[in-house]
């Protein structure tokens, strides 16, 4: 029982990381019907921006919470900018073309970020500095939680609530929902569709950056290809929850994180990458539009 609860705590932490990345996937998909393959690499950039910010601020030598928050912010702003540039220079020119052209462009951007990262940061893995000193806090019944896990928990939940507020309670959020419903109708209501799409990309990229820094707190090894697998799994999480659906992305991420930790804990670590997809296929066979997704109406 103790072991199970401990795994559950670890699974939720991992799942929140996936959820943060999945949110970016699901928002972009909801608005553009585009699988943004480069999103996992933005997550990688987030971790690297955090790494260099930590070096600049000297947080690696004398950690303090204010610096840690600053690092998170720098990384989020940096990735927001990257998201803006990607959208402006790669995706916008192909927006009017077929969805497949956009998809291949996304793949090109993903390769560009990975290989550009390889060139800029070097191929050897870097180690993310301890910007908060690790301590373990007992939760009772032999279960412990590290303060890093608590930070992941608090920050990601706070970011998700902020996103919820933006989407549901602000004008920009209202416009986002309108655009995801219909580009044409939204444009006719005076919404600048282009600006909303850019806004969505920036928002998603910032969340991915936060995930990059938060996950690097716990697993400090970072390298240019680190975004591929988490990106893929986060995308699966978004589909699992019903792509385009924001609460669905969070639910999917959590399901995925918990399932993965359980497989590693009780089955075998070599199967960890398969479970995500087995789960996905099983769920899609029963609910073809994901857990919270609405089945699309068939137009004849």
């Amino acid at each position: 029982m103790t072991e199970f609860l401990q795994q559950l705590v670890n699974g939720v932490t991992l799942g929140l990381g996936y959820a943060l990345i999945a949110l970016g996937y699901t928002m972009v998909y909801g608005i553009l019907r585009l699988i943004n393959f480069a999103h996992g690499d933005v997550y990688m950039l987030g971790a690297f921006f955090g790494f260099y910010a930590a070096r600049l601020t000297g947080a690696a030598v004398e950690p303090n919470p204010l610096k840690a928050a600053g690092i998170l912010l720098i990384s989020m702003v940096g990735c927001g900018l990257v998201g803006f540039l990607i959208e402006r220079f790669a995706y916008k020119p192909v927006r009017k073309s077929s969805r497949l052209a956009a998809l291949i462009t996304a793949i090109g951007v993903s390769l560009l970020l990975e290989n550009g990262g390889l060139l800029l940061f070097g191929a050897d893995p870097k180690f993310f500095p301890q910007i908060v000193r690790a301590t373990n806090i007992p939760l009772g019944m032999g279960v412990t939680i590290s303060n890093q896990q608590i930070i992941i928990l608090v920050v990601s939940v706070a970011l998700m609530l902020a996103l919820r507020f933006i989407v549901l309670n602000t004008r920009a959020g209202k416009a986002m929902r309108a655009v995801s419903y219909s580009h044409t109708a939204a444009a006719l209501m005076g919404i600048s569709v282009d600006r909303i799409i850019t806004f969505t990309f920036v928002l998603g990229s910032m969340l991915a950056a936060a995930a990059g820094v938060l996950v690097a707190l716990q697993n400090p090894k970072i390298e240019p290809y680190m975004g591929i697998m988490p990106g893929l799994k986060a995308f699966v999480a978004a589909v699992l929850g019903g792509i385009g659906n924001i609460p669905g992305a969070v639910l999917g991420g959590l399901v995925m994180g918990i399932a993965e930790v359980m497989v590693v804990g009780y089955l075998s670590p070599t199967w960890r990458d398969a479970i995500a997809f087995v789960l996905l296929i099983l769920i899609l066979l029963v609910r073809p539009s994901g857990l919270l997704g609405q089945p699309p109406a068939e137009k004849v």
Binding site: V94, L100, I104, L112, N115, L118, L232, A276, P288
Partner: protein, 329 residues
Amino acid sequence: MRQLLWLLGAVVLLTGVNVVLPRLVNPYITQIIILCGINIILAVSLNLINGFTGQFSIGHAGFMALGAYGSATFTLRVGVGWVAGLTAAGVPEVVAQGTALMVALLLGGLLAALAGYLVGLPSLRLRGDYLAIVTLGFGEIIRVLILNVDAIGGARGLAGIPAWANFFWVGAGVLAVILLARHLALSTHGRALFAIRDDEVAAEALGVDTTSYKVLAFVMGAFFAGVAGGLFAHFLSYLNPSSFNFIRSIEVIAMVVLGGMGSISGSVVAAILLTLMPEVLRPVKDYRMVIYSLLLIVLMITRPGGLLGSRELSLAWLTKRFRPARERA
């Protein structure tokens, strides 16, 4: 009779190529040409699923892996013994190896086709991106499965596969897949696939059995991906599960989309182009993959419908295009 003549001609031609070409080029060029051929088979076979039928599959590396490991296992367990037995009985070594390789490739292809059938089934329920992600998951599951089966090498990889694949067999595979795709495109069945791609509801209303045609597309595409995998295994002599990851599937998709969805010659051109590009860019070393990805983005932005769109390169089209202006008038 005519078909027989064609077949004979093809065999003579391929044998000629197989004898002459290795004398002309060094092993490095040989490897690139063979890989071009394997990539052509992969791209054209994926085009059957994605371009002809409009079903979005991104798990082609999985089918390829099944074909590669299936045929390699057959060769190692049975084929090598066959060749030894046949050569002892006086059959020329080339013929014996060719027979064993052909059986191995067919078995690998059939194994992949079976998997294609199993993946094709959910395509009845799932549409668009959901189907795409299931095929992706399927490819990854196969890779992890292979990683965990120790009998075929697991993470160490499978080594010591006899290198029987040569220009003849790769050329034969390329010809076979192109001929099949070409004949399919001109047949009733091909029209049915196009109809499903263009409007599934309308196709169904006109009496096209959409279900079985979709599964058929998956089975055919997977079969040739398996054959390509088998050739890959028998050319490199070594297999590793990491050769069949999701990046590999993505490369093949890039070939299909870049060439133009549904265009066979487009797939061929793009497969050659994308295989050569990293090699041509070798002198720029570290910048190689950066330039490759930039080129991919620029090509997609400037030619979003693919290099050839849905057209086919043909002699008639070329002569019309390059005929002097005065004759055109």
